[in-house]
């Protein structure tokens, strides 16, 4: 099936549907303020720091997504940037999936778009705060179409959202690109090499800082069990993955999802969509996308059904750790399900539309929302915008006014928080993005009884000191710490204050306490050389400029029918 021009106005209904779905899903999250949910932390007036570019020795999971947000926040309020990014995920997902359906009818394409933008994958990853991954997920249908056309410029444009997302988004997209390229047309070896170019160049910002970080690549095998797919429906872990759910975290399952009746109907919808895809999808990318979906499903299931081999593989080469949180690789399967649903609706509708056909089509568009109502209204209020408390604002002002160099250490010594001012909802500690200095936190991750050790070399070095019971002020100052920021109160709070005896208390409120240490030593952190990072960013920007010789409008409008 060949590509031909599709007027941009044909995409307006899908974009509008995506926008409506986004408004419905985000609900109270669109109010003034910031949504903090698990890995999603936005802060007011973010600044470009060494951390933004992955130069502090930590794993660059936030590269380049943090740089993208910081750049946008130079011209727009950061809270607005967050809302626009989250809405863009729904608009892009609905538009891209709708454009991939080989049908001239509107309702089948809208059904595919709605299914792709509103399903358990989106819900669970959104609650987990994986907006960067979802950016790549949203554009995946365009990536599939571009890979099938074997056009490097078009592929770079289609990969832009994934490139912004960084590591996870690019890994999932790479799976789809390589599978579709390998299965589409002759000269596979050469085509694969040409497809690998854009993937490699757009991955440079996180690839270079990740691979060359002095501490090397961590490969903790304990995380395999912690992040393996789990059952969130009555159909087991594999059945849940097939239904596009199954993310590792029980807490991010939307309310009401997985009940027997609705799960059974959703299973029928998915099986029907897969059957329709197999029967009727005859596009140039159909086989490659099916291959990507099958491979992705295998990656997603690995932690659940082959934990031992996966641990052995990670022991052999830490790079296999990308398969630990495998559920994200179900993204190509979501494309298949969405396109299959669109094709099924297309066949259900009569050649000449009538009221009954239109009703069926509209029902198909509404079905994903009906079957997953728990995503609506900010997933039942779990995505809610809040403001940073006054204690935080005062702490930032105090730090900003200090000309003396030195880092900020955050206590309690843990990565995640359940801030009372955020309704007790879990999130990453917000301090690293809130302050414009190097912020040292423990990045050890606790899931149930499993603790995945810290990856930041600085945190690992300070760990014994902080876990001891001795005084902290002088030893921390010798380690380059200028401030200690306590942003959660627990039973150890009073003892912590005693251990900071000698430090100057600048802010002391119910939500945060800030101490300043005197006599801070200057500590240089090892890391990837700055000039190398400049070169990688130059290469990425040059590739994007080169790709813009084909306009974005062309990317959207030229889609296979």
């Amino acid at each position: 099936m060949s590509g031909r021009a599709r007027p941009a106005r044909e995409h307006a209904p899908a974009a509008a549907t995506g926008l409506l779905l986004g408004l419905l899903a985000l609900g109270p999250g669109l109010a003034p303020g910031f949504v903090l949910s698990y890995d999603m932390v936005f802060a007011p007036d973010p600044a470009f720091t060494r951390m933004t570019f992955g130069l502090t020795g930590t794993l660059p999971r936030h590269v380049p997504s943090d740089a993208f947000v910081t750049a946008l926040a130079t011209v727009l309020p950061a809270a607005l940037v967050q809302k626009l990014v989250l809405l863009a995920i729904f608009v892009l997902a609905c538009t891209a999936a709708a454009s991939l359906v080989p049908s001239r009818r509107l309702l089948p394409r809208l059904a595919a778009g709605a299914c792709y933008a509103w399903n358990p994958f989106v819900a669970e990853r959104l609650l987990l705060g994986h907006w960067a991954l979802l950016l790549g997920y949203a554009a995946l249908p365009w990536v599939v179409a571009a890979a099938a056309r074997r056009d490097s410029r078009r592929l770079i444009l289609a990969l832009l959202p994934a490139a912004v997302g960084g590591f996870a988004a690019m890994t999932v997209s790479a799976l789809a690109v390589l599978a579709v390229t390998a299965a589409s047309g002759p000269e596979r070896g050469r085509a694969l090499l040409r497809a690998a170019g854009p993937l490699l160049v757009l991955s440079l910002p996180w690839l270079v800082t990740g691979v060359l970080r002095p501490a090397g690549m961590p490969g903790d095998t304990a995380a395999v069990g912690a992040f393996a797919a789990r059952a969130d429906t009555p159909f087991g872990a594999l059945g849940s993955l097939l239904l596009l759910g199954g993310a590792w975290n029980r807490e991010t399952v939307p309310a009401g999802y997985g009940a027997p009746l609705t799960a059974a109907v959703w299973l029928l919808v998915v099986l029907g969509a897969l059957a329709a895809y197999t029967r009727w999808c005859r596009t140039e990318w159909a086989g490659g996308l099916a291959l990507a979906a099958a491979a992705g499903f295998g990656c997603a299931a690995a932690g659940a059904v082959a934990a031992g081999p996966l641990r052995a593989a990670i022991g052999l080469w830490p790079g296999f750790a990308v398969l630990r949180d495998g559920q994200q690789y179900a993204a190509p399967l979501a494309v298949v399900v969405a396109v299959g649903l669109g094709l099924a609706v297309d066949r259900l509708l009569a050649p000449r539309p009538d009221a009954a056909g239109a009703a069926l089509g509209i029902f198909a568009v509404l079905a994903p929302v009906v079957l997953l109502p728990g995503l609506a209204w900010g997933a039942g209020g779990r995505l809610r915008a809040v403001d940073y408390p006054g204690d935080w604002v005062r702490a930032r002002a105090a730090v900003a006014a200090d000309p003396v160099r030195g880092d900020i250490l955050v206590l309690p010594w843990a990565t995640h928080r359940s801030y009372p001012w955020n309704g007790g909802r879990r999130s990453l500690d917000a301090a690293p993005r809130y302050f414009d200095r190097r912020v040292v936190i423990s990045d050890a991750v606790a899931v149930g009884g499993t603790v995945i050790p810290a990856e930041d070399p600085r945190a690992r070095r300070l760990d014994p000191l902080i876990r001891s019971d001795g005084p902290l002020a002088v030893p921390l100052a010798r380690e380059g710490v200028r401030y200690v920021f306590i942003d959660a109160r627990d039973q150890a709070f009073d003892r912590l204050r005693q251990r900071l005896d000698g430090a100057e208390k600048l802010v002391d409120g119910p939500t945060a306490t800030l101490y300043r240490l005197n006599g801070t030593f200057s500590v240089e952190e090892g890391g990837v050389p700055g000039w190398l990072v400049v070169i990688t960013w130059f290469a990425v920007i040059a590739a994007i400029v080169w790709s813009f010789r084909r306009s974005i409008v062309t990317l959207i409008t030229l889609t296979p029918r």
Partner: protein, 43 residues
């Protein structure tokens, strides 16, 4: 025939929506889970 299918589909979706809303309200009334303060989540 198509009208009958459309009507049946509409009824089915309405039933599912009702079930979903009931499940949602039931889930919101469950006792809150006491979560470890500094954990990433629970399997």
């Amino acid at each position: 025939m198509r009208i009958a299918v459309a009507a049946l589909t509409g009824i089915l979706l309405a039933v599912l929506l009702s079930v979903g809303v009931v499940q949602l309200s039931a889930a919101s009334q469950e006792d809150p889970v006491i979560k470890p303060l500094y954990n990433y989540g629970t399997r």
